[in-house]
Symmetry: none
Subunit: 554 residues, 2 copies
């Protein structure tokens, strides 16, 4: 059994000017204490716009601050919202890796879909698609960690070209993965994805046993196809907690917080209406509380009790096969001093009870699961290795990402390319030929300039664009002048005069050759207008400009 | 004068398994030291996918870690990329506010548009729209800080329903705003928006005087309509730095880093091609470095010197009206120990010189500017207060956000033209010069070819790019050959030999002139590496390639 503490950063109204700052600095102090007394994990949610219920909108910032106040405690994102409109997958990979770097490899990467109306409506996430968004993003982000370079993405939810997503996490292949299970069914999803289950469905220990059996059965079955490149087999349960030698005092200190937690959760996740910036969930709760009744033996009251009672409770969860207990102390109006006292006491009286022999039990579990995990990982589509280097191309990439699915047809691409070629041409030469008459260009393009240009073309020969062509091209320019370029091996040479056995003859006005090389005229247009005449391999003709440093017609 | 240090998290290849972690932990140690010796600011970039040049992809995480290791130093985002595809404005507001909370109100909020092909292409940001995205996001984010609840957004770049964006920053109405100015013209944009200018265009102190005058004149004029709800009137200049009692030792310690910084910058921001995950910018730099030449007295080499020299340099910037000097020490292969020694020495010998009377000077400045700032803030559209409560409605909100945004306007045409220009570099010439040695190019680039090329340049002269320039430019090529281009009216003529009274003299290797015209080398890179020497109007120099048909360096 491992132990964690959990933060929503709850802040019941009314607020004072310094309430949020106090909330944050108190939490950092608590975590520093939790680390010192031996808690294994601190978990931090990501929620947006859930005033009073959760002011933890940038957990990457908060956990990073906590990383420098602690030494051993693991820093858990519990969770990061994966829908692409909330967090771009590259930004998720980057922030998780960066946190792993500043913490020396202490990150656990919990994931989720978001499910409050405030968040889905705020970011425009369609509820019926968020599950597939989550699955898509998880595959994508884990590849960003493991692939070097990340080989790109093209799904209905994200398009991204190949990039080396940096930095990389300290933990290889990546930090342990988890998923938030606010519904208990999601525990099965976790198992099928080979990742940890963070259960927020406060269950009786005895319920947990069923779910744990299900989780480990599925995880070891052929249904498990890991979402990441490592399997994290763990089931954690989140409960409210407050600890005091006097159980009644523990309950007094913790009940309001636990009650508000549940009430505010229902406010945002149930059918209640919310008006941003107005009202007070706390005031509503306080007013209705008497009629909500005593929480008595309600399991939702959680772990409010004496150290002895908590040892007992933890044991029942341990026997049920739960791997981690995560406690919410900061909830509703719960007081900083009470939270610190609880952590101290729990550290002193409860934690040690479960430390004995833990490493061995965990090692035995790992050995037991190893064959199944090995088999599962073999089912996961592997890290992609790009066979050839990818050349970045900003405009094509931006256009591709901006395109609505389904992709624009090849006709549109060709038109766009031609348009671009006509507009911008090939810079210097394009500027020079632009708007000039044939006569003007011919006057300038005398024998010396022709020699220079064919020389440049020959030296600019690109075998990659030549499709294996070997042989001689003959250029008959008007007015009368003939040049050849001969390709042998990977090199090309130019010469004046006709060829003995040309593979291709291109006859055209000298001025138009200049325009083709400048990219301001398309060879296909010349061909159709009769200004360019071709003898020989026509397919080859379409590649000529490209082969010799001109623009691609495609 | 205030002082900052600046982090890109540079990491030249080859990388060891622990290189990134070492990079981060060293940086945290350095910042702790900088805070202790009295630096006022630490600035952290946000860059994505720029391997070797910048591994700082999640500055919100890094600065949050730094917040718990420091007490006084301000934590500057230098900058956060505001295009909505990279960071949703709500996520920006949340992370800035959270950092402000954990640091006790020490955040400065620098903003930017992103401009490398790696980032724009990676996230699908259309280059011609990024300026308007920035402006839109800045308005939106500052309202998220100040409005309670945020009253919603409906622009071509973002749709969002009303929500209370929490948490709120400690600093009211929000942390000081800045914008990155990689082009000096952006300093004017900063002034018109009433925000601080972070100038990365390494200028002479004397150049800075002009820009400072311009900045403060515009900021106090009716053209200033603040982007935020407070004005931040500050001009900061970023420079490489290394400090040692022996100036030669300072230069030895800092030159490689400064050189690599400039080289890698040019790699990602110039026309050079990048293949994700492949190659080594460091190896390229190291191989070409001998030919890049000594950096000599080049002011672009930055602040590498003794404490006395740095006091002198800072004084010149102070006299020029610069408010903050930001130093880059972590660059290229610069060593952690050297960086720490520099910070210590600078803190001991330089910082105290400028501390005397600073508060009074700053107070006097604030008083002087107060009327203009008051008038400017009155021009800013105020915080919106919703007359009636807004009722959340998930389905309607999701549908509204998902509706297709209005089509791109005239920018699309511009984009097509730029696409062509960038695609081909300068096409034929780019292919030709690509990968060739200086000697090879020089052999080819004889008197005949030089005449041809200067002729082409003169004929390609574009008055629209010349900013009204009239006069003569002299090009001194190495090996020995001198040419001039004279602009009169709307035409330019070339001639061989020296000019009687040149407005500008550009001296450079002949091979590099070819590369500039081909668009494969950035003139700024040449200038920084000392291969291009300029006499006369430096501002004019930055426009030369563009004037004569070469690519724009921006």
């Amino acid at each position: 059994m491992r132990f964690g503490i959990f933060y929503e950063h709850q802040l019941p109204r009314p607020w004072k000017p310094d309430s949020e700052q106090r909330l944050y600095t108190d939490a950092l102090d608590q975590i520093e204490l939790a680390d010192r007394v031996g808690f294994d994990y601190v978990w931090e949610v990501e929620h947006h716009f859930l005033e009073e219920y959760s002011h933890s909108a940038a957990p990457e910032v908060f956990l990073a601050a906590a990383s420098q106040r602690t030494t051993n405690i693991r820093l858990g994102h519990g969770i990061i919202q994966l829908p692409q409109q909330v967090n771009h997958p590259a930004r998720v990979a980057e922030r998780v890796a960066t946190l792993d770097l500043v913490s020396g490899g202490r990150v656990d990467f919990g994931t989720g879909e978001a499910s409050s109306a405030a968040e889905l409506g705020g970011f425009g996430v369609a509820r019926e698609r968020k599950r597939e968004m989550w699955q898509d993003a998880l595959d994508c982000v884990t590849r960003m960690f493991a692939e070097e370079p990340f080989a790109g993405w093209n799904s209905p939810h994200l398009r991204m070209p190949p990039r080396n997503v940096i930095p990389k996490p300290v933990q290889k292949p990546h930090p342990p993965l988890w998923v938030a299970c606010s519904r208990r069914e999601t525990i099965r999803l976790a198992a099928r994805n080979g990742i940890g289950a963070l259960s927020f469905a406060f269950v009786h220990p005895e319920d947990a046993a069923t779910w744990s059996r299900d989780y480990y059965r599925l995880l070891a079955s052929e249904e498990c196809v890991p979402a990441g490149f490592a399997v994290n087999a763990n089931l954690a349960v989140v409960l409210p907690m407050m600890c005091h030698e006097d159980p009644e005092e523990a309950r007094r200190r913790g009940a309001s917080g636990a009650g508000f937690f549940a009430y505010a959760l229902a406010h945002y996740y149930g059918p209640s209406r919310h008006e941003p910036g107005r009202g007070s969930i706390w005031a509503d709760f306080a007013a209705r509380r008497p009629s909500l009744g005593a929480r008595g033996d309600d399991p939702l009251a959680g772990a409010l009790g004496s150290p002895q009672q908590l040892v007992e409770l933890v044991r029942r969860y341990e026997e049920a096969g739960v791997d981690q207990m995560i406690f919410v102390l900061q909830a509703g109006p719960n007081r900083h001093e009470h939270i610190c006292e609880s952590l101290e006491l729990f550290g002193k009286k409860v934690l040690p009870v479960f430390a004995d022999g833990r490493e061995e039990r965990e090692r035995a579990k790992a050995e037991r699961l190893a064959p199944a995990i090995g088999a599962a990982l073999a089912r996961r589509a592997p890290v992609r290795v790009m066979a050839r280097p990818y050349q970045m191309d900003e405009d094509a990439e931006v256009a591709r990402i901006g395109r609505r699915a389904p992709a624009a047809g090849p006709g549109e691409r060709l038109r766009a390319a031609r348009k671009a070629a006509r507009r911008g041409g090939q810079g210097l030469l394009a500027r020079f030929v632009g708007g000039r008459e044939d006569r003007d260009l011919e006057r300038w393009f005398g024998p010396g300039q022709q020699r220079l240009l064919f020389g440049l073309m020959a030296r600019s020969f690109d075998p990659a664009k030549a499709g294996g062509f070997q042989g001689t091209l003959e250029f008959r320019l008007e007015p009368a002048a003939t040049w050849t370029i001969s390709v042998r091996g990977e090199r090309a040479r130019m010469a004046q005069g006709r060829a003995a056995d040309p593979a291709l003859v291109l006859a055209m006005p000298a001025a138009d050759l200049l325009r083709v090389l400048a990219g301001t005229v398309n060879p296909a247009d010349l061909l159709m207008s009769g200004k360019l005449r071709v003898e020989g391999d026509v397919t080859l003709a379409s590649r000529v400009a490209e082969m010799f440093g001109g623009p691609s017609p495609y």
